[in-house]
């Protein structure tokens, strides 16, 4: 895990692209889903919770992870879909912990059910994993105030890298912005608190970028008064 950045360090703006890969694993009923979740590589769990933000999907999905969506639309088990939809992956930066939570919920539902829900052959759940390619944009900022103009100019995938992917690699599992701002000797604690309240899970990346831009703009406007 990376330590919080020191004050003198610049914030390097990076970007990323995701390559999606088939795992060959698939499930047609809940027991198969449980078995595959047990053994599939952690990258696949990550992809099905977070990868949705970087792949084709329609605005405002009812469920924010692929497991919940499949259980609802292919297995038609709304109860389980709602329970799976309530999992907040930001609480589980370690994918093994997230996997355990997922398994607990599925096991609980299997215990409750007398009949196993099945789906058709053409509606199976296909486990996908991904490789993330991270590259440097050669842009950087030195002052926190520069975030106001930088955020709107970032690509959606750059927002993903700094605000979501960061939680897997920073000290305290926080986004890169807070990680950097904490290095200013407590000067931006208030701003970090506002950032901590952002729930990235239901937004598209474009909406998330706007939300972050609004927070930075408002904060520095207030502090100018």
């Amino acid at each position: 895990m990376a330590e919080p950045k020191k004050r003198h360090q610049a914030f390097e703006i990076k970007d990323c692209a995701l390559a999606a890969l088939a795992t060959g694993q698939r499930a047609q009923n809940l027991k198969e889903l449980r078995d595959r979740v047990r053994s599939v590589n952690p990258g696949s769990i990550y992809y099905h919770f977070w990868g949705g933000l970087l792949k084709p999907r329609f605005d405002d999905p009812e469920y924010n992870n692929d497991f919940a969506s499949w259980v609802r639309h292919a297995l038609h088990d709304k109860v389980l879909a709602d329970r799976l939809g309530m999992i907040d992956p930001t609480e589980y930066p370690d994918m093994q912990d997230l996997r355990r939570e997922l398994l607990d919920i599925i096991e609980e539902r299997l215990d409750e059910s007398e009949h196993l829900h099945w789906c058709g052959l053409d509606q199976q759940f296909y486990f996908i994993t991904s490789q993330i390619v991270v590259f440097n944009t050669r842009k950087y900022i030195k002052k926190a105030r520069e975030l106001v103009t930088m955020i709107p100019a970032m690509t959606a995938s750059s927002v993903f890298y700094h605000f979501i992917d960061a939680r897997r690699r920073t000290f305290g599992n926080i986004d890169d912005f807070r990680s950097w701002l904490y290095g200013f000797d407590g000067q931006y604690v208030g701003l970090c608190e506002r950032l901590s309240e952002v729930d990235p899970f239901f937004s598209t990346l474009t909406e998330l970028r706007q939300q972050l831009a609004d927070i930075f703009t408002l904060y520095f406007k207030e502090n100018d008064r």
Partner: protein, 413 residues
């Protein structure tokens, strides 16, 4: 920044183009070759016609080779296509021999270029055996499958997989199409080019001239399906759906516009079936368009009130993407790649029968405001997900991924 990249930037934004430049950086100086079986006709040729020039614009040394085949070869590969889509097709040994021989001959012609390239992309089964005839290859070879191979006829898949297992990676349009192979299997949906003749904006005058010139009445409602004359596209089912709708909308016209692909020997048989099904109905327009009639197809898609793609199997369905880009909700077969484009009640409707297609057609013709609203959503969905720039980004990402690492994270300095 070149003029062409600036034009893309106007549509997708400068940030997207900047990102492509950054991804290309570690690939500068490498040689890339794409190989397929036809220069014109069908979705693969269309994608390559655009993907190759834009890769060049970005500074990659890329070329596109087309294998030359005879009638027996194309008969065999058409059977492969059908078999990969699930038909139980028995292919005579003599045709398989012809397939291998044609590949061997093409390898003689192309070997030097293929063996020196850092990346070779082989599209679909037609040129798949080329790898086995290039023993001194130095680069990464990637097999790109554009077909819905979710449930292939196993005997044929077993034969073809002998040629494919040796590749360094393969690409499928959807996870459901991926087959068990001993290498990385990337997932990359295809795309359309917003600047191509088929997709650029046309003014009303041109649309009226083109469509009117084909004997179609623009004052009456139009149902359209654009696709090859292929049984998997179910053109006869579309005629059935039209007849069911026409009872309620007597002025309705149907256009079935098909292109000719040089690698599809069955299209004439299907065309004959379609003509028989149409009978003497003067409101059914069967158009056999030349492979380069892109602007005509563009005009037809823009003139149509309802666009269908009632396929029973579909790799991706670029005609769906094209219609959505023109602001049309699509009534599509509930299969393959159509499913990731057509979101029920949002960007169109998924249907399984002619009755389903007819019902949704009537619904949209009745709810004009909804038709426009869904069309706007469809266009935006394509802008964000199915344009050439996204496709290119994923190709560049997988090339970087294959060059730089095995783990799930690759950090480029």
């Amino acid at each position: 920044m070149t003029a062409i990249l600036s034009k893309y930037a106007e549509i997708v934004g400068w940030d997207v183009i900047d990102q492509l430049h950054q991804l290309v950086d570690p690939l500068k100086g490498i040689k890339v070759v794409h190989v397929n079986s036809t220069k014109q006709g069908g979705g693969v040729a269309e994608i390559l016609n655009k993907l190759v020039p834009i890769k060049k614009e970005l500074g990659i040394d890329v070329s596109w080779e087309v294998i030359e085949g005879n009638a027996e070869f194309f008969k065999c590969t058409k059977n492969f296509h059908n078999a990969l889509q699930g038909n139980k097709v028995e292919i005579p040994h003599s045709l398989l021999k012809s397939y291998e021989e044609v590949n061997r001959q093409n390898a003689e012609r192309l070997r030097a270029r293929l063996e020196e390239a850092e990346f070779v992309f082989i599209h679909d089964p037609q040129p798949a055996p080329l790898l086995s005839y290039c023993p001194d290859r130095k680069g990464k070879w990637i097999w790109r499958c554009h077909i819905d191979a979710s449930r292939p006829y196993r005997a044929i898949w077993k034969y073809l997989s002998n040629f494919i297992t040796g590749y360094d990676a393969s690409i499928f349009s959807l996870a459901a199409f991926a087959q068990a192979l001993p290498h990385k299997e990337y997932l990359v949906p295809p795309s359309i080019d917003p600047l191509s003749e088929k997709n650029i904006d046309l003014d009303r005058q041109e649309i009226e001239a083109v469509v009117g010139g084909l004997g179609i009445d623009l004052d009456r409602q139009i149902m359209l399906q654009v696709s090859r004359f292929d049984t998997f596209k179910d053109p006869v089912g579309v005629i059935h759906a039209y007849r069911l709708t026409k009872k309620f909308v007597p002025s309705l016209q149907l256009i079935l516009a098909g292109g000719e692909a040089t690698d599809d020997p069955e299209s004439q048989t299907v065309l004959d079936e379609v003509r028989t099904a149409a009978g003497g109905d003067r409101d059914i327009h069967i158009l056999l368009l030349p492979a380069d009639a892109h602007r005509t197809i563009n005009a037809l898609q823009r003139a149509a009130d309802i666009v269908l793609q009632k396929s029973t199997r579909e790799g991706f369905g670029l005609t769906v993407t094209e219609a959505m880009w023109k602001g049309k909700p699509v009534i599509g077969g509930d299969t393959g790649g159509i499913r990731i484009q057509v979101v029920n009640h949002q960007t169109g409707f998924l249907v399984n029968t002619p009755e389903g297609a007819a019902l949704r057609t009537r619904y949209l013709l009745f709810h004009r405001d909804l038709l426009l609203e869904m069309g706007a959503k469809a266009r935006n969905f394509v802008r964000e997900n199915f344009l050439l720039t996204r496709h290119l980004r994923e190709y560049l990402t997988l090339m970087v991924s294959l060059l730089h690492g095995r783990g799930d994270r690759i950090e480029l300095d």
